[in-house]
Structures are given as C-alpha cells and as structure tokens.
C-alpha cells in the first residue's frame, strides 16, 4: 500500500494527513490561533478556555493537518503525553507578554523535548500576542527558552498575533515544508 500511496502523492493526489499537537501554557492563545486557521465561515467570535482537548482539521499546501488543541491549564498538562505518539509536528505557543511564567514554559518544553516519541519531530514556536506593547521579541523568547541548544530536530520561532493572523500563516508554511521534505519512513 505504501507504494501506491507514494505514487498518488507524487502525482499530487490524495492529501497527506499529518497529526499536529498544539500545546502551551494556559491563556497563551492556542485555540485562538487554531480559530484563525479555519476557513473564514467557520470561525467563532469568542474563544472559551478549552477543557481537555479539541480536534480541528484544516488543509494547507496539500497537507491535511489534524490539530489536537490541548488544554493548557495546569492540571491537564499531564495529559499531553498521551498524544505524543501520533504527533508528526508540534506547535508550541508562548505568551510573549507573560514574562513571569516563561520559566514554567521552559520546564514544560524541556520535558517534551526529552520525550522519546518526539525525537525527530519538527517544533514550531509562536511568540504570541506580538500586538501587546511590552511583549518580548521572538529572539528574546528563544534565548529565554534556550532553544539554540536543540541540535537534533528542526525548529523555528516566529512572532505572531493570533487575533489578526499576523505571522501564523508563515509558520504553517514552514511546517508544511518541513513535513514534505522529511523522508517517509
């Protein structure tokens, strides 16, 4: 079946399906980001805090993304792990205005980076809420989270504003490229 599917894909038929995990601390803007990725008609006006998780799927660059939007509240973070296994990419949303909890984000991130199921998976970081005046830049965030120590997996960080969609598309473009270029195993 692998052969047939690869053949189809080479012809540009049948979109590839990719599972994406969206994580981050609570109130960092994960569900809002996802709302932005939906078709215009399906967007909701107000986003409520997620309980548990929500599944969204969207089509970008010929890839069918299935996003698991995990709740970021403290007591649900332990549940993220159950979804690591089938994630082909991770989107980690950082609240660039929440300087106090940057270290908490760092701890959670380190746990994820060390996890064996996520060894070869591309990580996309969003330094979100870039519209707020006193926010950190993407570079500052990367330094705070010591992202440059990651040598074994592809990663990228972008400043974004999920409310207006600024920076979001670029990130997804990069992710699609990474997934396409990855050899199928």
């Amino acid at each position: 079946m692998g052969l047939f599917r690869r053949f189809l894909r080479a012809l540009g038929l049948g979109p590839e399906k990719v599972g994406v995990l969206i994580v981050g601390l609570d109130n960092s803007g994960k569900s809002t980001l996802l709302n932005r990725l939906r078709p215009k008609k399906a967007r909701t006006a107000d986003v409520v805090p997620t309980i548990g998780f929500q599944v969204e799927s969207f089509l970008k660059h010929g890839i069918q993304f299935t996003a698991f939007d995990m709740s970021g509240a403290g007591r649900y973070r332990s549940l993220w792990e159950a979804y690591f296994k089938d994630a082909q990419a991770v989107i980690f949303v950082i609240d660039a205005t929440d300087l106090v909890r940057m270290c908490v984000a760092k701890d959670e991130l380190e746990l994820m980076l060390r996890h064996p199921d996520l060894r070869k998976v591309p990580f996309l970081f969003y330094a979100n809420k870039s519209d707020v005046p006193k926010c950190w830049t993407a570079l500052q965030c990367a330094q705070a989270l010591q992202l440059d120590e990651n040598k074994d997996k592809p990663w990228n960080i972008l400043a974004s504003n999920a409310l207006t969609g600024e920076g979001v598309e670029e990130g997804i473009d990069w992710l699609a490229e990474m997934i396409k270029s990855k050899p199928t195993n």
């Binding site: 599972g19 548990g52 599944v55 299935t66 709740s71 007591r75 089938d86």
Partner: protein
C-alpha cells in the same frame, strides 16, 4: 497420522456447531495490540470499528482492564474524534461510555462531546448527550444544563429521547438539576413522537414519585387526555394501579373504584400491549370483584387463541395467577386452555396445565391426569415442580381423587429427576399423607418403594422419620420393617442411623414386634459408624434390656417431639440466667415466628405491610418479631437489668401520615417495667435532627414512674431511628394509664448541595398523639395444641361468662377480627376465619397473662338481618381475677 486425525474431526464438529461466531477466539492481549491502529495517522475507519467492537465484546464478557490498559485504550479512542466517519463516531461514543474513564480523565473528552452536543448532526447530538450525562460529574453538569433543557424539547425525537433518558439517569445523583426541567418535561409528555412521550412520562413520574398528591394529579390529567404511545399508555396504567393501591389504603373499599373505568377503557385499545397491561392491572387490583374481573378475563381469553406465542404465554400466566384467587372467574377459559396443553412452547403448556388443575372440577381430573402423563417426560425439571405443586393443591381440594393423584405422583417419583424435583414430589406425598387419612397407607408404601432406590440422603432420612412415626399406627406395621432394615444393610451412615431410629419406634409402639426389633437392633451394634452404634445401644436400653422404664415411657420417650419452635427455645435459653429457678420450657413462646424461613421473605412482607399501612416510602421498616426486638433491647445497657421481655405490642402510629416527622411506638412489657420504643423518621431532606427524645407526661397514670430516657443522638433524613423511655410499675401489677407525648429535638439545617449540616441549630418540639397502656399489653399470644383438652383442664368454677352487643357491623368476619385484636390473644384451630354467609361463629382464643397465667377464651358470635352482632364471651383461667380483667377489656371498649 493417528495423532492428527482426531483433532481434524473435532474441528469439523465444532465448525458444524458454532457456525463461526464472529467473536470466536478473541483475546484481550491481541485486541489491545490491534487498538494501536487508533494512533495511525492514516485512519482506517472500518478497521477501527472492528477493533472497538472487539473491545466492547471483551468488556461485556466481564473482562477487566487494568488501570493503565484502560487509560491507554481511552486515550487512543479519544484520538478517533478526528475522524468524520459517522459510524465510527457512534462506536467511539459507545466505547467511552463503556470504559467509563476515571474522574481526572473524563475532562479530556468533555470539550469534544460538548462540541458534538451542539453539532448539526442529530445523531451526534443524541449520542453525545447520552455519553456526557453518563460520565460527567455534578460540577460540570451546571455548564451543560442549558443545552440539556433545550434538548428535552428538541424537534428531533431521537435527541429529545436521549435527553430525557439521561435525565432519568441523572436523577439518581443530581436530583435538584433535573427537577428544574419540570416544565420542559411536561411539554415533552405532549410530544407527537411515541418514544419521547414514553420517556417523558417516565421521567416526570420519577421526578414526582415522592409526592403522592402530584402523582395522583399527573395520572388524573393524563387519563383524561389521550396518550398516543402504547408504551407510555402501559406506563400510565402501572402508575394508575399504584395510585389506586394507595387510595385504597386510605379509604377502605366500597363504592366505585377510582380509575377503574380508565382501565376498562384501555381493554379496547388498539395495541395488544396496552390491552394486556390493563387486563393484568385489573386482575391484580386489591379485592377485585368478579364483576370487575369479567372484561379482563374475556380479553385474556381472546389472547389465548392468538397466533403469537408471547401473547399466549402472557395471557396464560396471568390467568394462572388469577386462578389462585378467583378460580371461578377463569373457568370460562378452560376450553381454550385445554387446546394449549399441546402447545409447541412448553412454558405455555405447563402454565395451561397448572391453571386447569386449579380451576378444573372433579370430573375432569382423570382426563387431565392422562394428558399430563403424556407430556411429563419432555419438560424440564422446574416445570415439573410447578406441575407437582399444582397436583398437590388439587388433591387437597378433591380428597376423593387421591387414588389417581397419588398413583401419578408415585409414577413420576420413579422416573429420572433432580433433587429439587424429587423433593417436591416427596413433600407433596408427605402433605397428602398428613391431610388425607385415607391416603396414608398407599402413600407410605409408595415412599417405601422409593427409598429402595433413592440416591438422596436428605430425602431418605425424611421418609424414614415419617415411617417411624406413622408406620406403627397402620394396620400391618410389620411390612415396613423389611424396607427399613434394608436401609440398615445397604445405605450410608446417615441413612442407617435414621433407619435405626425408625426401627426403634416400631419396637416401642407395637408390642408383638418388639422381640424381633430387638434382634435387628442388636445386629446394628456391630455397625462401623459411631452414631449408628450409639443409637442402637440407646434404643436397646430404652426398649427393655433393662426393666426400669415402663414400655409406655419408652414410647413416650421415642415419639415425643419438642412442641416449641427451636428458634424461640434458643432465644429463651440465651435469656435464661443461672439461678435457683429452673428453666421453664412452658414459658417459651410457642408462637411460630418466620425466623428460619428465608429472611428475604420477611423483609418483603414488611415492605408490603409498610406500603399497605401507607407508611412513608422510606418510612419505618416495621421490625415485626418479638425476638428481634429482644435483641435490640438487650443491646442497650439500661435495659439489661429489668428482666425478661414479656410482650411487644404492634407499632402504633403517633403522627398523621405524610407529616414532617413520622413516629410510631412499640410497647414492650416487662415484669416490673414498660419500655416505650419510639420509631421516628425524619422526612425533611433539609434537616438533621439531634438529641431526639420523647418526653412522656405520666401525671395521668399514677402507678408509673419514669426511670430512664434514652435519646437518639442524630436522626438524618430518610433513615429511621429509635429513642426509648423506660417506665417502672409495681411488679406483677396490671397498671394501666394514658400518657401525653412530646417529641423534643434540636434542628440543624442541611445544605442540600453538600449534605453538610450547619453548625448552629435550634431547639424545637413536636406534639404526638397519646399512648395508652391497656390490658392487652399484659397478654401474650400463645397457642395450645388441643383447645378442648386445655379448656376442660381448667376449673369450670372459675369461668366468667358475659354477653355483649357489638352494634351494627359490616360482616361477622370484621367483628371477629376486631374482638381478637382488642383482646390480643392468639386464635387457635383456625377459628379466626369466618366462612362467608355464616350467621353465627365460634372463635377460640388462647393467651398467657403476665405472671405466666394461661388464659383461654371462647367467643360465640351471632349476626342478625340488621347486621347487629351479639357476642357471648366465656373466659377460663387459673386466676379468677384474670378472667375478670379479660371481661373488662371488652366491657370497657
């Protein structure tokens, strides 16, 4: 080759039998491996469905998953929410419902389910509601309540039904929330969709079930309007029956029965289900008259010839029950039922037969028996037992026919059968022997033949015991000896021992057999079992190896039985304290109490009584028997020193029904004290009562003095509790009096949400009705085996006779019952039952007055055309003053 062949053959056999069950050979480990496909990025929906089916199968087979396994499967399943396949989504719902995730995991699917609950697909909505209500906890329920309320009145019947059914489930844990939906549910009752109407009615009733008035209103309004759904109509009939039952508890019958017309109307309904339900309801009405019964029976008769087996079964089963109480009403259906004997379905055939046996007349017995014999061999044991029981009651009804019936019983006794079946037959024969003297000889010889080839020790010993008791009294006792001695040679130790006992009884009671019996018994001295040898030795001694004991004494020794129920004897022996006074076996109450008979039965009865007296649903469970009271009282240290309990009265209600606090009292009489046991029930959910006690006003009763009062620490909602008051009176004296009572307690408000009581409380009191100590409290019910002998034995000089007019009464039976209740004595020889239409009746009563004075009374009743009842009461006892007191009871009431 030789090794392989048999296995091949086996496989072939199995293939033929099982027809490839789709679930053949499913194994947990393998399925859990397969469940990994849920994580596949390219979901194969068909395969996922199959795996879920397998998992569900495992769960339903009782396979248990460990915590980690369950968690893994659960999380894997949640990933399937990404699929848009409707069939798969349904399986996902089922899976989540079945695996019931733990509290901290539930949260993970809540969002997804809430989203589905508001989706456009009705199927998603209905199922999501069901699953969500199943797994959600009270806290989150508040968030989705709004959606559920809307769903109840949804246009789509599937969604509405789902919400209603969820409501029924939620009512158990979160009643407050569901109760707020009342208006929506009411609207749903009027829905056009049959299933919605059905579920809505069920939920509405559940919401109001504790409020009798509301249920009654509900039924009244719905019986007038038209309920479309047959299922809802059936439900309505059941609720109606409930209302009728409760109403009849309050106002005793007479006049038109409410709602009867509605039930009768339902007999003409389109749906068979409704017709049957209505017919069944009518037959089960309390005190149903034959006029009311006729239309229901007619309908059931039509069902008997229906082409649907289930209708035939239902009809014949109902008729079977009716036949127990109103055999005449069923006779019309006899012809239809006779054709059912040859029915394909054995259950129907058996029920038809047993019903016919109950309703049949004497002339048809022979014909019926012939038909039964034909099909006896091809029905299962349980059915055979039913048939045997029916035959037993038939035989008791027509004693002249015993020969045919006894022959039939002995025939089936010889056939193959399990223990229960054989036991039922033997029991029947034993009862017949006891009840029908003519049947004794033939019955005994049938039993003798049976034990020649009986594989059940229990039955053998039982029969040997009976032979020992009855055999010597027959015309030719010697013929039984052979059968009994055969047992000594052939059987196991238990049977041998009872055979030896039986032999000894023959020896003791039949003089000319005694030498021969002695020879047989001596042989048993060399038996290799201790018990058998011991018995043989004992009986040889008793029967006259030594001449000390007269032969009469031997007979008496061997045949005397303990005429006291063993349970009572045990209780009395436990209560006996070693002292100068010897233990008096005569003081043991002879009233048989249903202690040893299955405890369940008793509870059921108690519940029924509670329902009958209209006690609150969670009301006081009346603990009936004296010895259970005794255990309760003995457990309280204050009551340890006041001696032996003489009598406990029946509970007397001290409050109106359905008030805030339901209280009844039980009076316990002791030689020098009276203990009042107040059973209190708190029916207010929002209150917790503490330090509950009853303050008794003894100012009107000079002879009593309050000694102790034992308050109840706390009385939460719904569970009854007891508080006691101990009064002293002069020893042995018959002190009478009336007491005013007030219930005092401290009220604490309970928060309905958390169930936690407030810290602060306030004192309150509640007036109760008066309690009276009457002479009846000093009389214990005892029974005598032979009233005539006991009556003659008492000095006629001490007899007190008087005549009374009891005024107009409804019937003689009612008058007799009232007098017996007033006297508190035990009716003997079944004289409390008055044959219908009798113009006069004599009732015989026995009792023991405090101080162990036996009292006997003879009541002669007469009734005239104006329903005026007159009574002549003759009392005899050893103490004249006691007889006078008994007369006083009637004179004063």
């Amino acid at each position: 080759m030789a090794l392989v062949n048999p296995r091949d053959k086996k496989d072939e056999d199995r293939d033929d039998e099982t027809e490839y069950s789709p679930f053949f050979g499913i194994e947990k480990g393998a399925v859990l491996q397969e469940a990994r496909v849920f994580n596949d990025p390219q979901l194969d929906t068909r395969r996922c469905q199959q795996v879920i089916t397998k998992l569900l199968y495992l769960l339903n087979q009782g396979e248990s998953f460990t915590k980690t396994e369950a968690t893994e499967v659960f999380f894997a399943t949640t990933k399937l929410f990404q699929s848009k396949d409707i069939a798969l989504r349904r399986m996902v719902y089922l899976m989540i419902k079945e695996i019931t995730p733990s509290a901290d995991e539930v949260i993970i699917v809540t969002s997804s389910l809430m989203k589905d609950m508001n989706s456009k697909t009705d199927l998603y909505r209905a199922n999501a509601i069901r699953v969500l209500c199943r797994i959600i906890d009270g806290g989150l329920l508040g968030q989705i309540e709004r959606y559920l309320k809307q769903a109840v009145v949804d246009k789509n019947p599937i969604v509405a039904s789902a919400a209603l059914v969820s409501g029924i489930h939620l009512l158990k844990n979160n009643p407050e929330i569901v109760k707020r939906w009342s208006n929506e549910v009411q609207e749903a009752v009027n829905s056009k969709a049959p299933l919605v109407q059905f579920h809505a009615l069920a939920l509405l009733h559940q919401i109001r079930q504790n409020d009798r008035l509301a249920v009654s209103k509900l039924v009244t309004s719905l019986t007038r309007g038209n309920v479309r759904s047959p299922l809802a109509q059936c439900l309505l009939i059941r609720y109606t029956v409930q209302v009728i039952h409760e109403a009849s508890g309050i106002s005793s019958s007479g006049g038109e029965r409410p709602f009867y017309e509605f039930l009768e109307g339902c007999l003409r309904h389109k749906a068979e289900m409704v017709i049957f339900e209505a017919a069944r309801a009518i037959t089960q009405l309390e005190g149903v008259t034959s006029r009311e019964l006729t239309p229901a029976i007619t309908v059931l008769q039509l069902f008997l010839s229906s082409s649907k087996p289930v209708l035939r079964f239902a009809a014949v089963r109902t008729l079977n029950k009716v036949a127990m109480t109103h055999p005449l009403a069923v006779t019309n259906c006899n012809i239809d039922m006779e054709s059912l004997i040859s029915d394909q379905n054995r259950s129907i055939a058996t029920l038809a037969i047993t019903t016919l046996l109950k309703t049949g007349n004497e002339s048809s017995v022979d014909r019926l028996m012939k038909q039964i014999t034909n099909f006896m061999s091809d029905i299962a044991d349980e059915f055979k037992i039913t048939v045997v029981e029916a035959i037993r009651s038939l035989c008791l009804k027509f004693p002249q026919k015993y020969r045919t019936l006894m022959n039939f019983l002995s025939n089936i006794l010889r056939e193959e059968g399990g223990f229960e079946y054989k036991k039922a037959i033997v029991d029947s024969i034993l009862i017949l022997i006891r009840e029908i003297p003519d049947a004794k000889e033939s019955g005994l010889s049938h039993l003798c033949e049976f034990i020649e080839d009986c594989e059940f020790t229990y039955l053998s010993t039982q029969i040997l015991h009976l032979l020992g008791n009855e055999g010597p009294k027959t015309a030719d006792p010697s013929k039984y000896i052979r059968y009994i001695y055969n047992r000594v040679i052939l059987e196991n130790a238990t049977v041998r021992a009872s055979a030896v006992s039986a032999l000894a009884k023959f020896g003791a009671m039949v003089d000319f057999l005694q030498p021969r019996i002695m020879v047989l018994l001596r042989r048993c001295l060399h038996d290799n079992d201790d018990e058998v040898r011991d018995r043989a030795t004992l009986y040889l001694q008793v029967l006259g190896d030594t001449k000390d004991i007269a032969p009469d004494g031997a007979a008496a020794f061997l045949s005397e039985t303990l005429n006291v129920p063993l349970a009572n004897l045990e209780a009395s022996l436990k209560a006996y304290e070693p002292s100068e006074k010897p233990f008096n076996i005569a003081a043991v109450s002879k009233e048989a109490k249903p202690l040893t008979i299955a405890e369940k039965k008793k509870e059921k009865k108690a519940q029924r009584e509670a329902a009958a007296t209209g006690a609150h649903a969670n009301g006081v469970a009346p603990a009936v028997s004296t010895s259970s009271y005794e255990n309760l009282l003995n457990a309280i240290p204050e009551f340890a020193s006041i001696g032996k309990l003489f009598k406990s009265s029946k509970p007397v209600q001290l409050t109106e029904e359905e008030t805030e606090y339901a209280v009844n009292v039980v009076k316990h009489t002791y030689p020098a004290h009276v203990v009042f046991q107040f059973n209190a029930t708190n029916t207010i959910q929002e209150q917790l009562l503490e330090n509950v006690e009853v303050v008794m006003d003894t100012s009107l009763a000079d002879e009593f003095e309050e000694v102790a009062s034992i308050p109840l620490k706390s009385l939460p909602y719904g569970s009854p509790g007891q508080t006691f008051v101990l009064l002293a009176k002069p020893e042995g004296a018959v002190a009478l009096g009336k007491f005013g009572n007030v219930l005092k307690f401290k009220v604490k408000e309970v928060d309905p949400a958390s169930g936690e009581p407030d810290e602060e409380g306030y004192e309150d009191e509640y007036a109760l009705e008066d309690v009276e100590v009457t002479i009846g409290d000093y009389i214990q019910r005892t029974s005598v085996s032979n009233f005539r002998n006991s009556w003659e034995a008492l000095d006629p000089g001490l007899e007190k006779v008087d005549e009374y007019g009891l005024g107009p009464r409804e019937s003689l039976q009612e008058a007799v019952k009232a007098v017996i209740n007033t006297l508190g004595m035990q009716p003997v020889e079944g004289t409390d039952q008055v044959p219908s239409n009798a113009r006069s009746h004599t009732a015989l009563l026995a009792g023991t007055f405090i101080g162990n004075v036996p009292v006997l009374a003879r009541l002669s009743f007469g009734i005239d055309a104006q329903k005026q009842v007159a009574m002549k009461l003759a009392v005899r006892s050893e103490d004249e003053s006691v007889s006078e007191l008994i007369q006083d009871i009637i004179a004063s009431s």
